[in-house]
Symmetry: C2
Subunit: 293 residues, 2 copies
């Protein structure tokens, strides 16, 4: 994807949040197109859903295929009168929760048929505080996102290395400390406390980014989006044809159960969704197509 | 099961909590025996686990068979120096959380192979506050428990009626208001908030019962235990041979996913377990053998 200079996007953003929404929707379409090239039996089906507690809504795209046992890409853009819930990501910002907000994002999870192919999770989100529900003028804004990799019992060191190399490449232009910090964030965030171990092999995670230079923050955020497909497609091209047997499948389904545990017990996006009265089908579209305990 | 007069058990309890533990273990063995009579291919396997944060531990009995795709019966009896977690059932009692405690209980969940056969959940629990970890003398105690029924997409009115009739029979000797109250508790507790509906068709639920008459409370608690098998066995005898097809199975696996959501997002027992540093395998042994999102 071609870049836009930070100063240009900055001025655009100041006048029009449609630029952020357009970027997210285009990225969503690009990802869907690339995933469909790998899929031998199926296409993404799109469902539009309205936001119950305010204006806006979302588009949930789900593929149930052969290569992708399930892949879900959810775009949303919602206006609300009050930032939801104490345990949510958004609530970390803003002491006054009675603040009108606009939130938009893309969230993606894959569950591959082949046990040797890992699950990937990707998210970009953008939250604005508004001066009032009526005018919808932005008064402050934050960026968040990242991507992380979860092998379902079969971790290949070269896959992990590639994935992190691309993440580093995405972030290094914004300072040498950025990638290590965001990698550490991911290791801490994607941790299954009751099992006392990380969910997968990590990745990058950032939240509530507002450096004061919105052009820089937006460029960083877009760089993460622009690099996502490079992080995962080479891995999928290698792994979707690996030999596997019933024992591998059993291990995969058990690991998927741990993934489901993380999403339901710890994930802030899920909690944010439940607390903000979101559509449960959209919030839980990331859950595994089949899991075993 | 033959009854013991309230005055007898009361005096026994005052001197020896082993009576409660014995009742629970005998009940566990009786249930396992009756379930194994229905099972055509498998036996319960027992795993003993130590409590990491104190004395005691538990015994997890799991059957993975043909009739019972998975049935788990967990007995535990643990001594700790501090009642765990703010969101837990136990924490509701006792303003001073730095209180040594003894907790024992039996918890059971079934996941049937036949989609027409419902999941049943049963639990009895007993918590004592102790004067000190060393002496382990009881200073106060509470009873809790209940049973509830969750059809996996196929609810038969006659099953629901039977189940509640047995629950009523178990509780009516203790006052006409008891069954309606405990039924209401269950309807409120077994509620999947993010889906805005009850988990199943209800049952009975009680927690922190301490009426001042420990003989009466213990007799009520035992009556729930003594009636459990009557509530579910006639239903299983009817349903485990019902005709079913792949669509029924699909519906069953989706409903099991909702069950998994309840356990991980809302269940206080699960939270209590995580917060008290319990064995994740024991805490999550109730999770479905297979679930689909």
């Amino acid at each position: 994807m071609p870049g836009v200079s930070p100063s240009t996007v900055s001025s655009l953003l100041k006048t029009n949040r449609d630029q952020v929404v357009s970027y997210l929707k285009n990225l969503r379409d690009t990802i869907i197109g690339e995933f469909e090239k790998l899929e031998v039996n199926g296409r993404f089906a799109r469902t539009i859903w309205p936001y119950q507690n305010g204006d806006g809504g979302g588009e949930m795209s789900v593929l149930r295929g052969q290569t992708f046992e399930k892949a879900a890409v959810n775009w949303s853009g919602v206006y609300g009168s009050r930032l939801p819930g104490a345990s949510s990501a958004a609530a970390n910002k803003g002491s006054n929760q009675d603040t009108p907000f606009f939130a938009t994002g893309v969230s993606l999870i894959t569950h591959m048929r082949n046990p040797k192919a890992p699950t990937v999770h990707f998210n970009l989100r953008y939250i604005e505080r508004l001066d009032s529900p009526a005018s919808k003028e932005r008064t402050e804004s934050w960026f968040g996102g990242g991507f992380d990799l979860t092998p379902m019992g079969f971790a290949y060191p070269e896959d992990t290395e590639h994935f992190h190399a691309v993440a580093k490449k995405a972030l290094d232009p914004f300072g040498v400390d950025v990638y290590p910090t965001y990698r550490k964030n991911a290791a801490e965030y994607y941790f299954i406390k009751h099992r006392n171990r990380e969910r997968g092999v990590g990745g990058i995670f950032f939240d509530n980014v507002n450096s004061g230079d919105i052009g820089r923050d937006l460029a960083l955020w877009r760089s993460v989006g622009d690099h996502f497909l490079d992080s995962i497609l080479p891995i999928y091209r290698r792994r979707i044809h690996e030999a596997h047997d019933e024992d591998d499948r059993r291990i995969q389904l058990e690991r998927r159960a741990h993934y489901a545990e993380f999403n339901l017990v710890y994930d802030r996006g899920t909690r944010f969704g439940f607390e903000s009265g979101g559509n449960p089908e959209a919030i839980l579209c990331s859950m595994p197509p089949l899991a075993s305990w």
